[in-house]
Symmetry: C2
C-alpha cells in the first residue's frame, strides 16, 4: 500500500466516526454525498480518499456502512489495542485519562507519571500516578506503544530523548515546543494556540 | 491574497513559533534549511509556503527573523486581540483557561460557562464561571470573536446552533462529534482520538 498523507489519514478517521454514527442510526449504506456533507468536504474528495484502498462503493448504491467501517479500522491500525502512557498529571493529563473515547477506540492508558510527590500514589480513574523517576525502568519491563507528553516545554525534549532511547515509536505531544526526534519515531503535536491561529486566520480573511 | 489551505496555515503557525524561538536565541537571519529541519518539513516546502506572500528571503542570506515573524503574525491575523469564551467548565475547559500561550498570542478568555450550579460563581484564573443560561444574553451585549466548546457531544449541536444564531463566526470544538454549521462559520475540531489514530496508522505502516 502506498504511503498516504497525514491529511488523508485525518479524513479517513473522520469518515470512520461518521460511519459509526450511521451504523448507530441503523443505516446499511451511505453515499459519498452524505459522507461529504457531514464531513465538510466534497463527494469527489471522499471518493478519491477511499479509492486509495481499492473499490468500495457500488455505483448508485453507495458504500456498505459495516464493510467500509471495518476496512477503515483496519487501515487506521485499529484492529488491535494500544498501550498508552501519559507523562504529566496536570490538567491536560487529567482530562486525557478521563477521555472515554480512547478506551472505546482501543487506546488503553496503562500508566500516568508525574514529578510532584503530592500526586504520586494517587489513583486516577483506576490508574495509579507513578513517580517519573520510575519511567525508564517501567517502560523497559512493560513497554508501551504510545506516550503522551503533557508536561511543561522546558522538560519536554529531555523526556522525548528518554522515550526514544527506550524505543517508543509514537508520541503525542501537548508541550508547546517542536521536539527533535529520529525519523522512525512519529510525533503528533497538539498545540491549542495553533488551533486558535487557524481560526484567527479565517476571521482575518473572511 | 488568494485563499490558502488549512495545512499551509498550520505550517505558517509552526514557522512563526520557530522564528520566535530563533529571536529569543538572538538570531537575526534563518535559512529555509534550518526552518525545515526544526519544522520537520523540506526546505522546498518552506520556500513554497512563504512564496505565497511575496518574496522574503535573500538568496544566500536567508530570512530576516524579525521581518518574517511580523509578516506571519499579520497573515495569521495576530496583529490584534481576540475575545474568547469557553463553554464547559470541565477538565478540558479548566486546562484551557490556564493555558498561558493563549494570552501571549492575543487570545483573551473573557468568560467561562457551565450548567453545574456547584461551579457557577467560582473564579478560575480570575475568570468567573457563569451560568450557561446567561450565555445568549451575555454574548449579545458583549460579543466574542471565538467560542470554545468543551461540552459533552449530546449538547454540542444545540450550543453550536445558539452560537450561530448570535453571530459567532469561529468555533473551536472539543466535543467528539461533527457539528453542522453554515459555511461562513469556521469550525476547528480538536479530537484527541483522531490524534491517536494518526499515530496508530503510523505504527501499523512502519
Amino acid at each position: 500500500m502506498r504511503k498516504i498523507s497525514e491529511s488523508t489519514v485525518r479524513r479517513l478517521s473522520v469518515y470512520l466516526g461518521l460511519l459509526e454514527e450511521f451504523a448507530r442510526l441503523g443505516k446499511a449504506t451511505v453515499s459519498s454525498d452524505e459522507m461529504a456533507q457531514r464531513g465538510h468536504t466534497t463527494p469527489a474528495q471522499v471518493r478519491k480518499d477511499l479509492s486509495f484502498f481499492g473499490s468500495f462503493g457500488k455505483r448508485g448504491l453507495g458504500y456498505d456502512v459495516v464493510e467500509l467501517s471495518d476496512r477503515l479500522r483496519d487501515i487506521l491500525g485499529l484492529g488491535r489495542t494500544y498501550r498508552v502512557t501519559v507523562i504529566g498529571a496536570g490538567k491536560i493529563g487529567s482530562a486525557l485519562v478521563q477521555y472515554r473515547e480512547f478506551g472505546e477506540r482501543g487506546f488503553h492508558i496503562v500508566s500516568v507519571y508525574d514529578n510532584d510527590e503530592a500526586k504520586v500514589g494517587r489513583s486516577w480513574n483506576g490508574v495509579e500516578v507513578r513517580d517519573v523517576r520510575q519511567l525508564e525502568s517501567d517502560l523497559r519491563t512493560e513497554p508501551v506503544d504510545i506516550a503522551i507528553l503533557a508536561i511543561p516545554p522546558h522538560v519536554a525534549q529531555q523526556t522525548m530523548d528518554l522515550l526514544v532511547g527506550i524505543g517508543v515509536k509514537a508520541v503525542l505531544n501537548f508541550a508547546p515546543i517542536r521536539l527533535s526526534h529520529p525519523d522512525e519515531v512519529t510525533v503528533q503535536n497538539v498545540n491549542m494556540a495553533l488551533e486558535l491561529e487557524t481560526l484567527s486566520y479565517a476571521l482575518r480573511n473572511s
